[in-house]
């Protein structure tokens, strides 16, 4: 079973640009939240290591880094899937949270004529048993 929270919005950028901003510039737009602290030391500076198998890590102010997750799908301009784990989750736990982003949607109307808008979708799930982490 996978429990999902689905959050989506359109963003004013072409899919390739949205993908680049989501991954390479995550440190610029990520906002820490008191509800979900990635580590007890705070959220730090998030960095994606590009490509399948790459990590999503956060670099903390004290020089330490924390691995948030691993990338399972890396399709620039199309799709990105990665696992998500905060420090408060049990290390031995066999389930993870998963977030995904998908860009581009044929059914969406054009915006200002500069190309199709991108759709960014965040999906958070909890893996209960062996199987797929989350649908995108």
């Amino acid at each position: 079973m996978t429990s999902r929270v689905f959050v989506a919005l359109r963003v004013p950028a072409a899919p390739a640009r949205a993908f680049e901003a989501f991954t390479r510039e995550i440190a610029c737009w990520w906002r820490s939240s008191p509800l979900f602290r990635i580590t007890p030391q705070g959220d730090g500076e998030l960095v994606f290591e590009p490509g399948v198998g790459g990590r999503l890590v956060t670099r903390l102010g004290n020089g330490d880094s924390f691995e948030i997750g691993r990338i399972s799908v890396w399709e620039p301009g199309k799709r990105l899937v990665f696992t998500w784990r905060q420090a408060s989750f049990a290390a031995e736990s066999d389930h993870h949270w998963c977030a995904a982003i998908r860009h581009g949607c044929d059914s969406m109307e054009p915006h200002d004529g500069s190309g199709p808008p991108a759709l960014a979708a965040g999906i958070v799930g909890t893996k209960i048993s062996d199987g797929y982490l989350a649908e995108v």
């Binding site: 079973m1 429990s3 929270v5 959050v7 989506a8 919005l9 359109r10 963003v11 004013p12 950028a13 640009r17 949205a18 901003a21 989501f22 510039e25 610029c28 737009w29 990520w30 906002r31 939240s33 509800l35 979900f36 408060s88 989750f89 049990a90 736990s93 389930h95 977030a99 960014a120 965040g122 958070v124 909890t126 209960i128 048993s129």
Partner: protein, 110 residues
């Protein structure tokens, strides 16, 4: 809701018979035998499901008012409320993050 508590709640709900029990208990408290009959499974099988649901905190059992051998099962709304809170908070977190992502794209638009 702790990570372990969340695991237990979601795992307990990851079974169609247990979800059927939750649906039945939403209407009113039931005896184990009634639940087994309604879910069309054996009494021992239902007992196992009820044990899982009890451990998750989603249901609780009471002794019957007139016969202490009878066990009555009822929902514990607190557990479901905690799950709903977690889902809402998670939703808010990602909605905020994606809004910040959108604002970043607007700011850096060439």
């Amino acid at each position: 809701l702790s990570a372990a508590g969340l695991d237990r709640t979601l795992a307990a709900l990851a079974d169609p018979h247990r979800r059927r029990v939750i649906d039945l208990l939403r209407e009113r408290p039931h005896r184990a035998g009634e639940l087994a009959q309604a879910a069309r499974i054996s009494f021992p099988a239902m007992s196992r499901h009820l044990r899982t649901l009890r451990k998750s905190g989603l249901v609780e059992e009471d002794r019957g008012e007139f016969d202490s051998r009878v066990r009555i099962y009822r929902l514990r709304p607190e557990a479901m409320a905690e799950l709903k809170t977690w889902l809402a908070e998670t939703d808010v977190l990602w909605a905020r993050q994606l809004s910040a992502f959108k604002a970043h794209l607007q700011k850096t638009k060439k």
